[in-house]
Subunit: 302 residues, 2 copies
């Protein structure tokens, strides 16, 4: 079924304990669409870039079945740029630089063909921009997944609350779930978030895995312990891409299938962190993905 | 098969975001022996207390099948006392007071009948004291489990390395595994720890669950997300009690059964944290434990 992802396509400078990477391709919608493309095609992408983005990357995306009809290219302008540095534990990072460039005036215009999408991934963006996507839809998608962050909770909470009312799945990390609800227990936080709108909550805990909540149901997906984590950038967006891509492929929204979607998202994220940027994700095969999913199954089997 | 646990029996003052508890019973060997007693009896305990310890507690332990022949009671002296305060995230705590009292001169003398024990749990104590237990054994136990902490890594590393050579299972938290090995990746840390002696490593991650490593095998046991965590004190020792108690009951040291033992330990720990001190653990039934283990199975099933 049809899938649309809206979010950033960007350049990143990244420093981690493993090394540095300069001006590499990144952005939530890039990671999400690459991950999703292993499960469903086309992946429709809505984003904005300057005329400085590599043709090679755009060619790669097209080859992977990512439809770029909704990708605005602004002549004479520069793409969104982010620079960050991760600390040793890889869970904390400092933003060293943010240059909004084309993102400052981003208006996500959906091509007419995208307005009846079945599966919609709203990447981390200003809540007003996320809402602007929803208002262009001609009918409600089967599933709307939204990612956000503490920055919007601090600066745009009323807008965030409005958009949450229209969302099925919220993906945030544990600290953000606590901030959003004022509840330390994730079980209680999930109950409050359900009342805000999202029927499902996915709490991303990085190396500690992910939790899926629906009403009184819970599912704990571990993260695969890895010998080397090179760069966590994009892991959450990759998770979202594997998750929604698997759901779009299977078309099954039972809790049992959502669990499998979480495992598929976790497997994709476990690849993502092995190299800088999306590099590791760009050369996968279905056999490699299936092998990793089997490792996840083995990891928790008792 | 026979089980021996050596460790502290103490009084604790505990402050958590849920409230305060003053001079309640505690200590690693107390938690471990109560947890283990749900799986195997007798649980042989070696520890030391002053004459200030409640008769009621000693009576309760006996009733639960805990053999106190190895519990030294020092007339006119006071039991070990610890006071601590937990922060909101419950993962960090400050020690407010430590009064070693009887523990300062603790010499763990094993009654002759304990010197051919099959399953030995060495609770967190000075590594020299842990070694003193091992030197009294007439033959190697089937399984030796050792708990330790960063304090001994900072102050008694050579002694800790000596005792680790004689241990099968090391249980520590993730930060301690990293400190002990200098490796951030737990996969790599496990490899280094295997070379130090322990064939198995269990990394306790609190609300994020526990990891079991043996050679190239890994198992991830989740923690059960709880609506309320009242007091994490003793959760690690309770985990150890459930783990070794289940192994002593089943007598099966395959990796598959060690996984089940980790789940039993996790289930016991999930009860422990629901009330202050060991209170919650003191009123369990096999049916309650089995129900919780089923919840763990459901939590990861996909």
């Amino acid at each position: 079924m049809s899938l649309l992802t809206v979010g950033t396509v960007a350049f990143d400078d990244i420093e981690t304990p493993s090394g540095r990477a300069e001006k590499i391709i990144g952005g939530a919608a890039l990671y999400t669409s690459i991950a999703a493309s292993y499960f469903v095609r086309p992946v429709n992408l809505v984003s904005v870039i300057g005329d400085d983005y590599p043709e090679e990357t755009l060619g790669y995306l097209k080859k992977r079945g990512v439809n770029l009809d909704g990708l605005q290219v602004r002549p004479g302008e520069k793409s969104f740029f982010w620079a960050g540095k991760y600390y040793r534990d890889l869970n904390t990072r400092d933003t060293l630089d943010t240059q909004l460039n084309v993102l400052a005036t981003f208006d996500p215009v959906l091509p007419p063909a995208y307005r009846e999408v079945d599966y919609l991934m709203l990447g981390n963006l200003m809540p007003q921009v996320q809402m602007r996507v929803l208002t262009q839809l001609r009918r409600r998608p089967r599933l709307v997944v939204l990612d956000t962050m503490n920055y919007w909770m601090n600066s745009a909470m009323p807008d965030l609350m409005k958009v949450l009312k229209k969302v099925d799945v919220l993906t945030i990390n544990d600290e953000e779930a606590r901030q959003l609800t004022g509840e330390h227990s994730l079980v209680n936080a999930a109950k409050i978030i359900h009342k805000m709108g999202p029927k499902y909550l996915i709490v991303k805990k990085g190396e500690h895995g992910a939790l899926l909540f629906q009403a009184n149901l819970m599912f704990y997906a571990p993260a695969l312990p890895l010998a080397e984590v090179t760069d966590p950038t994009g892991a959450g967006d990759t998770f979202a891409g594997g998750f929604i891509g698997y759901l779009a492929k299977t078309g099954d929204l039972t809790f049992d299938n959502l669990k499998r979607a979480v495992i598929h998202g976790s497997a994709m994220a476990s690849f993502c962190v092995e190299k800088f940027g999306p590099e590791r994700m760009m050369g996968l095969t279905p056999a490699m993905i299936n092998k990793r999913i089997a490792q996840f199954a083995e990891l928790v089997r008792f």
